[in-house]
């Protein structure tokens, strides 16, 4: 049997696990409520009077994900370790890598589903005006990639501990750093005393890279940035998982 079949089996099980617990439904409801509230109330969607989702809708995503993605990712490995099923999983005829990718894909697909359920916003904006749907599409792609990057980071912190709360807090802090590195007030502060470092630091920020997508530019550098965060984080996760087995 090949590796993809194993990955598919694990992904299927994980997805089923999400939907057999209230977590999935709570997550989706909260995510949609937040999106709606921030887009129409705080974001001033109507006041702007322009047929665009960029500022009122996508601008908030890095901040929603900051709390919601770690909540989805925190149970991935911490729960397995706590219950002891990790031993079961790793003694089955699959590689650790297949397990990691399978679990990650499941959560990522789940986040993708939550994101797709925001489609009424697209309908609304199309009904009210004639937006550039290409930009909206690229915004969605970017948003999903960004969620994947956050999720991969949550994978690391989840693998580090058997306590889900610790995992949650750690990944929130790391993700917060990645947002702040590109947050305008922070950049302004940095420019005053660390001019040469600004470019390096902002290049690590998810906001900087998400910006391109919001403008409708599918820049390969931004795509590679998110994909490499995912790749690197999953690799780190596999190192940590292997470390447990030795210890």
């Amino acid at each position: 049997m090949n590796g993809w079949a194993n990955i598919k089996t694990i992904t299927k099980r994980e997805l089923a696990a999400y939907f057999s617990s209230p977590l999935a439904y709570i997550f989706i409801v909260i995510f949609l409520l937040l999106c709606g509230f921030f887009t129409f109330m705080v974001g001033g969607f109507f006041e702007r009077g322009e047929a665009s989702l960029v500022r009122p809708f996508f601008d908030w995503h890095p901040w929603f994900y900051l709390f919601l993605v770690p909540a989805v990712g925190m149970r991935l490995w911490a729960e397995e370790r706590r219950v002891g099923t990790l031993e079961l999983l790793l003694t089955m005829p699959i590689t650790a890598w297949q397990a990691i990718v399978g679990k990650f894909l499941a959560s990522w697909l789940f986040l993708g589903l939550a994101l797709l359920l925001t489609f009424p916003v697209i309908i609304t904006v199309n009904y009210l005006g004639s937006p550039d749907n290409g930009i909206i599409f690229s915004g969605y792609v970017g948003s999903w990639l960004m969620a994947g990057a956050y999720l991969a980071i949550s994978c690391i912190t989840s693998a580090m501990t058997r306590n889900q709360v610790v995992s949650f807090i750690l990944s929130v802090v790391i993700c917060l750093f990645m947002i702040l590195a590109g947050f305008p007030p922070v950049i302004n502060l940095l420019e005053n005393w660390a001019q040469p470092l600004v470019e390096i630091i902002t290049s690590f920020s998810v906001i900087t890279h998400f910006d391109g997508f919001q403008k409708g530019v599918l820049d390969s550098r931004d795509v590679i940035f998110f994909l490499s965060i995912i790749g690197f984080s999953l690799f780190t996760t596999s190192v940590i998982i292997r470390g447990h087995r030795a210890g």
């Binding site: 049997m1 099980r13 099923t85 031993e87 079961l88 003694t91 089955m92 005829p93 030795a246």
Partner: protein, 276 residues
């Protein structure tokens, strides 16, 4: 055990399962093994049926073969009544059997069971031992236990491991021979004083020593230990000496595993590992 199943890499030496080295070709080796970890973990959010289907699928079973394997495991472990219940809601015994069912789902050649009867009630223990006995006819089964009666009930070979070292290795009968009880004769006599009995028994050449175990209601119970290796002759010799006494009871002891275990692993006892 965790090393055999590939969970922890061995710090020294190699482990081969069915010709496959667990470090070099873990996937092939793991495919041959069914494993029941200690505490029998299972995904609590799944139903028993769902969990077993997942286990079957990851073992490469699909469609018809999968359904058949799940059905067989459910039947063997008596899980029909809880099939569609989530693992979370099960009692410890059922949970344990669910995990056990997972380990036999692909009909493996090698079964590794870490304390398979831990936390089960006597009926369930009996059930599991029967299962081990039955499957042991065709497969290699390794299980660990702290319960020595289990060794007698299910094993063809036992290894005692004390602080990481093998201190004894043999069939349960062989292990029992190591006990100084093995071949000892217990004799109960009424109406004869204790010292007279021990004095007379002391004259038998093959007797190492004899001790009075119990003395009440005029019945004296004496245990006679043989010199060297025991064979049936001691009982005969004791019976000859005892002529003229009113013998209430006379039998040869078999040797006790728990006593062997204690004498080998003293001062502190550690886990045993028994091999079927």
């Amino acid at each position: 055990m965790r090393m055999i199943t590939g969970f922890i890499p061995p710090s020294a030496g190699t482990i081969k399962v069915g010709g496959f080295d667990i470090v070099e070709s873990p996937i092939e080796a793991k495919r041959l093994i069914g494993y029941l970890p200690e505490n029998a973990p299972a995904y609590t959010d799944m139903t028993v049926h769902g969990f077993l289907s997942f286990a079957a699928e990851i073992r490469g079973l699909r469609g018809e073969a999968k359904a058949k394997a799940v059905g067989r495991a459910v039947e063997m472990c008596f899980l029909e009544s809880v099939q569609h219940q989530s693992v979370e809601t099960l009692s410890k015994g059922y949970r344990h059997r669910t995990c056990f069912a997972q380990s036999i789902i692909h009909d493996p050649d090698v079964l590794v069971l870490d304390e398979p009867t831990d936390g089960l009630d006597p009926n369930q223990k009996h059930e599991v031992r029967q299962l081990i006995r039955r499957m042991g006819e065709k497969k290699a089964i390794i299980f660990s236990t702290h319960i020595l009666e289990e060794v007698d009930a299910a094993c063809s070979r036992a290894i005692i491991i004390d602080r990481g070292r093998i201190v004894a290795n043999g069939t349960p009968a062989e292990l029992r021979q190591k006990s100084e009880w093995a071949g000892a004769v217990t004799l109960s006599v009424s109406g004869t004083p204790a010292d007279a009995i021990t004095a007379k028994l002391g004259h038998i050449p093959s007797v190492k020593r004899s001790t009075v175990v119990d003395e009440k209601n005029g019945i004296v119970t004496v245990r006679v230990f043989p010199k060297g290796t025991a064979n049936g002759s001691l009982a005969k010799a004791v019976a000859e000496v005892a002529q003229g006494w009113r013998v209430e009871e006379l039998h040869t002891e078999e040797g006790r595993l728990d006593e062997v275990f204690r004498s080998i692993t003293m001062p502190d006892t550690v886990a045993t590992k028994e091999v079927k």
